[in-house]
């Protein structure tokens, strides 16, 4: 296993943990952390991709993309945290109520 493969295997693991958390954890804070884990896994894929050919200088473009991705995920997480606090203030809970089918 070379370095890139170890990175990719780790990335896959992190992504799966993130996705698992996203779908199983009802608490909004945990959901946001899970989303960040999923995102970090994807960023790690980009990092691994940068060193496709062993020995050569890493490709800088994936690093630029990861930086862009990090900026976006920080902003999205900030928005998510504000919304989660609003949900708590307005509904008193830290979980999303199940989607209600409006009664006819």
């Amino acid at each position: 296993m070379n370095q890139a493969e170890i990175y990719l295997a780790a990335a896959l693991g992190i992504m799966l943990i993130g996705l698992y958390g996203l779908f199983t954890q009802p608490h909004l804070l945990r959901k946001l952390i899970a989303l960040n884990l999923f995102g970090s896994g994807i960023f790690l894929v980009y990092v691994a991709v940068a060193r496709r050919i062993a020995g050569e200088t890493p490709d800088p473009v994936p690093h630029a993309m990861v930086l862009t991705g990090i900026v976006i995920s920080v902003s999205a997480t900030a928005l998510g945290l504000v919304l989660a606090r609003r949900v708590k203030t307005l509904t008193g809970g830290t979980e999303l109520p199940p989607p209600v089918e409006p009664e006819p």
Binding site: I42, Y46, V61, I72, S75, G80, T91
Partner: protein
């Protein structure tokens, strides 16, 4: 004239809304609301410049900052992107006029205070999305659009609205991340991100398949195709009316646009045959399921939101008609492609009109349950006419834009010998008529004697009516959009002309 064509209109039609967003943030809501129509008008003019350029000299590329691919991020504008830009600019400009009136009672304290910067970021994000030629930049623009859309949904401030907005955020982020993963897998193999460069090197192999599955999943979540639509009705129905209109009319078209770019301009044909049948089947299910849900909803905005779930389904019928069973030289793929896009276009106008009218009903009658609609035809004829005309396009009756789109899809399905889509298209039309008549019937009942209405700004009704009239115009003057669409279409020009 050549001087006018030399101005980089494409850059302006992105810069103006972004500038407007920052300016609105700095000046505060009062001044922002005054300046908004000016910015909207300037953006429409810049977009018109792009459209004229494409009509006169065909598709073009613009190297942003003079860099050029593969290092820089290019704009690529052909007929399809110009049509989507024009749709966004016109609908968004009308919504801008509406929003000024809608938030006019709100003196900078409530949701109106934050509307303008978010609104122009949304608008600029959409323009950037339709302009870009770079698959990573699609991700960035998708996120600019999603984050502003999520914040705009939360502006309603109600528990339902904030919960819907939270759910929308989680779903939208998951969708974008899947898309980002797919882009990473493509870059790992080919080392380029520009669509034109990627098209030349992309091959069918397991890694490309993995990338395709991730990208497809991400974009389907964002486009809210059945069964990934659950987030859409609460978000679209609980947002303030101008926001609902923009979400249903424009935002979902953004991810649909990227989906079409990947299918028609990037990936090899043989990868898409099987998935296109799946997309068509899901689309058909969405048409039936969304319509049945719309039949059960107690409130106008929920009916209209579920109608969006159904109308999104139609868009996906173009995939099986274009990729399954078609031989080179067949004309129906051209028809199906143009029909699907035309449906997206006319749905934007009709759905925006319905949501704007619903907002006017909310302000006039104080609610939007079916009972609140009773007698509005008599007392608020402008709003009622807007609802009726826009519904004609949603049902797909002539002479509306909705008719042209559905007719082309129908004819394509008949030529292709895939009659089962025909059944679905017709059944969907009948169901759309059924759910539309649920509110139209109430509108044209005699007004109850004790009916008390609030004075809502008249502009709310007029703007909704303007968009509804536009859907009729799209039915009567269909050749202009088609002429634009044929510029740089993924079909030979003669096939395009013969098909129409």
């Amino acid at each position: 004239m050549s001087g006018l064509l030399d101005i980089p209109w494409a850059a302006w039609c992105l810069l103006l809304p972004l500038f407007a967003a920052v300016a609105s943030l700095l000046t505060g809501p009062r001044l922002a609301s005054r300046l908004a129509p000016l910015f909207a008008l300037a953006t429409v003019l810049a977009t018109a410049g792009v459209v004229v350029r494409v009509l006169q000299s065909g598709p073009f590329r613009h190297a942003v900052g003079g860099w050029g691919a593969p290092l820089g991020i290019d704009f690529h504008v052909d007929g399809f992107s110009a049509l989507m830009l024009a749709m966004t600019a016109v609908v968004a400009a009308v919504i801008t006029v509406y929003a000024r009136a809608y938030f006019s009672n709100d003196h900078g304290s409530g949701s109106g205070a934050y509307f303008w910067p978010l609104w122009f970021f949304l608008w600029g994000g959409l323009h950037a999305l339709f302009l870009t030629a770079d698959i990573f930049n699609f991700y960035v623009t998708l996120e600019v659009v999603s984050l502003s859309a999520v914040a705009l949904v939360a502006l309603s401030g109600t528990p339902t609205g904030v919960v819907a907005s939270m759910r929308y955020l989680l779903t939208a982020l998951t969708g974008s991340l899947f898309y980002l993963l797919g882009v990473g897998l493509l870059y790992a193999q080919y080392g380029v991100l520009d669509m034109d460069l990627l098209r030349g090197v992309v091959e069918v192999n397991p890694a490309t398949w993995a990338a395709y599955v991730c990208i497809l999943l991400g974009l389907l979540i964002k486009t809210a195709l059945f069964p990934l639509h659950v987030w859409l009705p609460p978000a679209h129905s609980s947002a303030p009316a101008p926001v609902s209109a923009a979400l249903s009319a424009l935002v979902i078209k953004g991810s649909f646009y990227i989906l079409l770019r990947f299918h028609f301009d990037l990936l090899p044909h043989e990868m898409l045959v099987a998935s296109s049948v799946l997309l068509g089947a899901l689309g058909m299910t969405a048409v039936i399921w969304g319509s049945l849900q719309a039949l059960r909803q107690p409130r106008l905005k929920l009916i209209v939101a579920y109608s969006t779930v159904a109308q999104i389904g139609y868009l996906f019928l173009l995939f099986p008609l274009c990729f399954a069973l078609a031989e080179p030289g067949d004309l129906w793929p051209t028809k199906a492609w143009a029909g699907g896009i035309y449906h997206a276009l006319s749905h934007a106008f009709a759905k925006a009109s319905l949501f704007l009218a619903a907002g006017a009903v909310l302000q006039a009658a104080g609610g939007d349950t079916l009972v609140h609609l009773r007698g509005l035809g008599e007392r608020r004829p402008v709003i009622a006419t807007a609802l009726a005309l826009a519904s004609i396009s949603i049902m797909g009756l002539p002479p509306s834009g909705g008719f042209v789109g559905k007719w082309l899809l129908l004819v394509a399905a008949l030529h292709a010998g895939q009659w089962w889509w025909v059944v679905g298209i017709l059944l969907g039309g009948l169901l759309a008529a059924a759910y539309s008549f649920r509110f139209l019937r109430e509108l044209f009942r005699p007004a109850p004697e004790n009916l008390v209405l609030h004075e809502e700004p008249r502009m709310l009704g007029y703007t909704a009516l303007a968009l509804a009239l536009f859907t009729l115009l799209l039915g009567l003057a269909a050749l202009i959009p088609f002429n634009l669409l044929s510029q740089g279409a993924p079909f030979p020009p003669n096939a395009f002309l013969e098909a129409l």
